[in-house]
């Protein structure tokens, strides 16, 4: 494929409102996923992020069938799933990864079955699974804006308890932090993030958007505060460049955004031993 494009061609998609919407959502979603992903990765919860994205798809399909607001239905479904997963992780009656796999893949399977039986609500199934710039509308812009404000409020308001609980949950709990409440809050934030990101990333690739910017940011710094900032910038950059690439290459936006983020990971990984050492320090990335 010819990659040499003129400046005018690069700017051409900006004439279209759908593209500007998509670019806005992808960039903000990248920053949002980057920040939330730091908590997800540092808690070794990458699998929950992956599973939750799939679970939300089931909620989306069920909400369409029941005729209720798609975002509301999927959001409530996601929060219930996330809290259920958190409860299982805390009690550990069975392996937490197995429990997450059962709950979230069952929800995903339900979503797929409903979509095949009754059709995809709101947008086509491919767009839901892999993301599509054409699928982004003004309600997505409002949703990502609202979730971003919510995320800023949660992280600013609970910055230290969130950090303490992520780093050292047992001591945080033993010295008065209500870790159950903090965990639940993070799960609600994660559910909202997944929901707001679904239109551009698609459910199958959201986990990558949560994990890769956070992992790259971890490789660049040993400070938690700076990691949050770097992850936001890396996520936003991946979203912006990936969405442009999606338009010009005529490929779904989810894969192009993930590929840009992956390229940044490869560059950071190749950059030096110290960075690789930090990469090895990050919990398993799903």
């Amino acid at each position: 494929m010819m990659l040499a494009v003129t400046w005018a061609e690069l700017l051409k998609p900006f004439e279209f409102e759908f593209f500007r919407n998509g670019l806005f959502v992808a960039t903000i979603a990248g920053a949002l996923c980057g920040v939330v992903g730091c908590y997800v990765v540092l808690r070794n919860m990458s699998y929950i992020g992956h599973g939750l994205a799939h679970a939300v798809f089931g909620g989306y399909a069920a909400a369409g069938l029941l005729g209720i607001n798609l975002f509301l239905g999927a959001g409530i479904w996601g929060v219930i799933t996330a809290l259920g997963v958190t409860s299982i992780v805390r009690r550990r009656p069975i392996g937490s990864d197995a429990a997450i796999g059962v709950i979230t893949t069952a929800s995903f399977a339900l979503g797929l079955a409903l979509v095949q039986l009754y059709g995809s609500p709101g947008r086509n199934a491919d767009a839901l699974l892999f993301g599509n710039v054409l699928g982004v509308n003004s309600s997505d812009v409002w949703l990502i804006s609202a979730v971003s404000v919510f995320a800023i409020a949660v992280i600013m308001g609970f910055y230290r308890p969130l950090l303490f609980t992520t780093f050292d949950a047992e001591v945080a709990g033993a010295t008065g932090i209500r870790t159950g409440l903090i965990d639940a809050l993070l799960m609600v934030l994660l559910s909202a993030t997944v929901l707001a990101t679904m239109s551009v990333m698609g459910v199958t690739l959201i986990a990558a958007n949560l994990v890769i910017p956070a992992v790259v940011a971890r490789m660049l710094t040993d400070s938690f505060g700076r990691m949050l900032g770097y992850a936001a910038v890396i996520g936003a950059f991946s979203g912006f460049v990936g969405m442009n690439a999606s338009y010009h290459l005529d490929v779904a936006s989810g894969p192009t955004i993930v590929l840009v983020a992956s390229l940044l990971f490869v560059v950071a990984f190749a950059a030096g031993g110290r960075l690789r050492q930090r990469a090895g320090a990050v919990g398993h990335a799903h």
């Binding site: 308001g157 303490f164 047992e170 001591v171 033993a174 938690f224 320090a281």
Partner: protein
């Protein structure tokens, strides 16, 4: 009376009595995690200015008692009362720390303090306060270092600094010298003694009878029950130690200190040890 699981940090209940000077008072405390009791009928009072070492074999309930006194584990039977508004801190075992977590010394110390702050991040004025705590513990100038890039003794002191920075009146330490070399262990012990002399109440658990416990003013020997409690000269005696550890021990005098050693065995396999 059982304590609510939802609110383990209930302060002194109306009508409950604490002896003068007592900060935390465990009465007839038994704890079970659903199976056999981990602690049985424990009575223990922590008074202001105490420096208490809880000793016992693995599985004796030391960590459970520490967490019950903190208010993090609810009693199954009995009660734990604490002075109203008491501020406590916990220093975890260094072996339980994720040393690869991206957190600098300054961030680590600041994370436990949430009240009375205008911003979630560390401001210049707060940084000065953190530096002051670090300087007190001999960690001056290390605020921007990653916690992994410190010596064993410095790492232990970072978590002590985190507890002190919350203005804790009582600090609990779980095996504070585990994994440390002799010199570092000695330094940590002296630091705790200095902090205690400055008015801090300290409760710690330790496996180390000779290196730590024998140097403390008060020892509690625990094996699910309190076998003995008091000054080292009263508690570090063969009878109490055998009941605590389940095997015979001898106590020698060396330079005015008590030294606990395994009693000689006469097994034909091992010969005299």
């Amino acid at each position: 009376m059982n304590r609510s699981k939802r609110s383990p940090f209930i302060d002194l209940r109306p009508g409950a009595m604490l002896a003068p000077g007592a900060l935390i008072d465990a009465r007839s405390l038994s704890i079970s995690y659903g199976g056999p009791n981990v602690l049985v009928d424990v009575d223990l009072t922590v008074e202001a200015g105490d420096l208490i070492g809880i000793v016992g074999p693995s599985g004796s309930g030391k960590s459970t008692l520490l967490r019950a006194l903190l208010g993090a584990v609810p009693p199954t039977v009995g009660e734990v009362n604490r002075q109203s508004g008491l501020s406590v801190g916990l220093v975890p075992q260094v072996e339980n720390i994720d040393w690869n977590f991206p957190v600098t010394v300054g961030e680590c110390v600041g994370m436990a303090r949430a009240r009375g702050l205008r911003t979630p991040w560390i401001t210049k004025s707060e940084r000065a306060m953190i530096e002051s705590v670090l300087e007190r513990l001999g960690l001056h100038g290390l605020a921007d270092r990653h916690i992994r890039d410190l010596s064993g003794g410095q790492q232990q002191r970072v978590f002590l600094a985190r507890a002190l920075y919350t203005d804790a009146e009582v600090i609990f330490l779980d095996e504070p010298t585990s994994g440390l070399d002799v010199k570092t262990r000695h330094d940590v012990l002296h630091l705790l003694d200095d902090l205690n002399r400055d008015g801090l109440t300290v409760v710690l658990t330790t496996h180390d009878l000779n290196g730590i416990a024998a140097h403390l003013p008060t020892i509690v020997c625990l094996n699910q029950r309190v076998v003995g409690a008091g000054r080292p000269e009263d508690v570090l005696v063969p009878d109490v130690l055998e009941q605590t550890y389940g095997s015979p021990m001898e106590v020698l005098e060396h330079g005015g200190m008590r030294v606990v050693v395994d009693a000689p065995r006469t097994s034909p396999m091992l010969g005299s040890a």
